[in-house]
């Protein structure tokens, strides 16, 4: 599956980062949506529960936004963001170890009470299952995709290749690359919407 190295290949983020540096907040919205799952995955290796993962992820993205002018393109945006995320998680762990014995039962994390009157985490098992099912829908849709569309979406999302590199590799115009990637996404989205509307 995807490696960090592959993600680093995606140099097209630089265009979005430049937009953010020029004051375009919407471009940052795209970057947040794009990397939110990866960031959550990194933080979840440091932090136990989902509420904290959300908090640390938000702090990390805020730090990254404040420091975006320090990004000079010497590494990929993901590499730069990764350092901020790891530092944020470590800072969280340090501060959390100080209040280790102090559990705030009023926090968002403990807002529901089960049948026995015990405080439980807010993380819903239904939500987890639903998410897992959604992933299965996506993977099934991938199998149904025509070969050329599956190849295009894999090269883009898994290998992190730019449109130009893909055009060179597949010996097709960039417009065709763009079209194939979009059609693959559209196909999978349709399956996802069917699942959501069941």
């Amino acid at each position: 599956m995807a490696s960090d190295e592959n993600l680093q290949k995606a140099s097209s983020d630089e265009a979005l980062v430049k937009r953010v540096q020029q004051g375009d907040v919407s471009a940052y919205n795209i970057l947040v949506i794009k990397y939110q799952h990866k960031v959550a995955q990194i933080i979840s290796k440091f932090v136990g529960n989902s509420a904290d993962v959300n908090d640390v992820a938000q702090e990390a993205f805020i730090k990254a936004y404040k420091a975006i002018n320090n990004f000079r393109g010497e590494s990929s945006f993901y590499t730069w963001l990764y350092r901020i995320v790891v530092n944020s998680a470590k800072t969280y762990l340090e501060s959390n170890s100080k209040r280790k014995n102090h559990i705030d039962v009023d926090s968002e994390e403990f807002q529901s009470i089960d049948a026995q009157g015990v405080l439980t985490s807010r993380e819903s098992p239904d939500r987890i299952i639903e998410s897992q099912e959604l992933q299965q829908v996506i993977l099934s849709a991938m199998k149904e995709l025509p070969e050329e569309l599956r190849q295009a979406i894999m090269l883009r999302e898994v290998e992190g290749m730019s449109y130009e590199d893909m055009a060179g590799l597949l010996q097709i115009p960039i417009g065709t690359v763009r079209s194939r990637i979009f059609r693959a996404r559209q196909f999978i989205e349709e399956r996802m919407s069917r699942f959501a509307g069941k």
Binding site: A2, I30, H37, K38, Q41, S50, Q58, I62, A67
Partner: protein, 204 residues
């Protein structure tokens, strides 16, 4: 069947999500656009196996962007301390590179010097004459005469500053040659005398 109406416009949004084909001016994302981008992000994360049990809230990105807007968070100016540390770091790198270059040049020069001197010494060996050596011309230093140390070959404690084995060999070779020549000369003279005697005898 899929609806391919307005496909060009949607395609461009997909390309925009990938950071390709960005339009001029500030981006304007509708709610529908954000929904698509969320789905594409989820597709990518699933394919890369990034999804974990610790799920982000569905409205994570929206609440983050709201916070940025409400708290009026803006990108800060470049941290000067970081810039300074970078410049110091780069100066160190340059210094290291220059030092390394100088050290390499010094080593190369030393090797070259040793090679040249060695080559010259090797070639000069055959032409060294057995004339008076430099050491013997030094004369007395303080109360010690360095040349005197070389001449006393009987003593086992002598210091032989200018003794050269090749000198010994060449001297003995010369002696042999000299003896040969002397022998030849003696034979030549004897032959001459012998011939003179025989001639004289026959005449008589």
């Amino acid at each position: 069947m899929m609806n391919f109406q307005n496909v060009d416009k949607e395609e461009l949004k997909s390309a925009l999500y990938d950071g390709e084909n960005l339009p001029e001016g500030k981006l304007k994302l509708s709610e529908n656009d954000v929904e698509h981008i969320q789905n594409w992000s989820l597709i990518g994360a699933t394919l890369r196996n990034e999804m974990t049990e610790s799920q982000l809230k569905p409205d994570f990105a929206a609440s983050l962007m709201n916070r940025i807007k409400e708290e009026k968070i803006t990108p800060e100016l470049v941290d000067q301390t970081e810039v300074q540390s970078v410049s110091v770091h780069s100066f160190r790198n340059v210094f290291k590179k220059v030092s390394f270059g100088i050290a390499q040049m010094a080593i190369a020069a030393s090797v070259a010097a040793v090679t040249i001197i060695g080559y010259q010494t090797y070639n000069a060996e055959g032409t060294v004459s057995n004339e008076v050596s430099a050491a013997s011309t030094i004369g007395a230093i303080g109360t010690a005469n360095l040349a005197s140390y070389q001449t006393n070959r009987k003593s086992s404690n002598e210091i032989k500053l200018n003794e050269d084995k090749s000198d010994k060999d060449s001297v003995s070779a010369n002696n042999i040659e000299l003896k040969k020549q002397q022998k030849l000369e003696v034979e030549r003279i004897n032959n001459y005398i012998r011939g003179y005697v025989l001639d004289t005898a026959s005449n008589n």
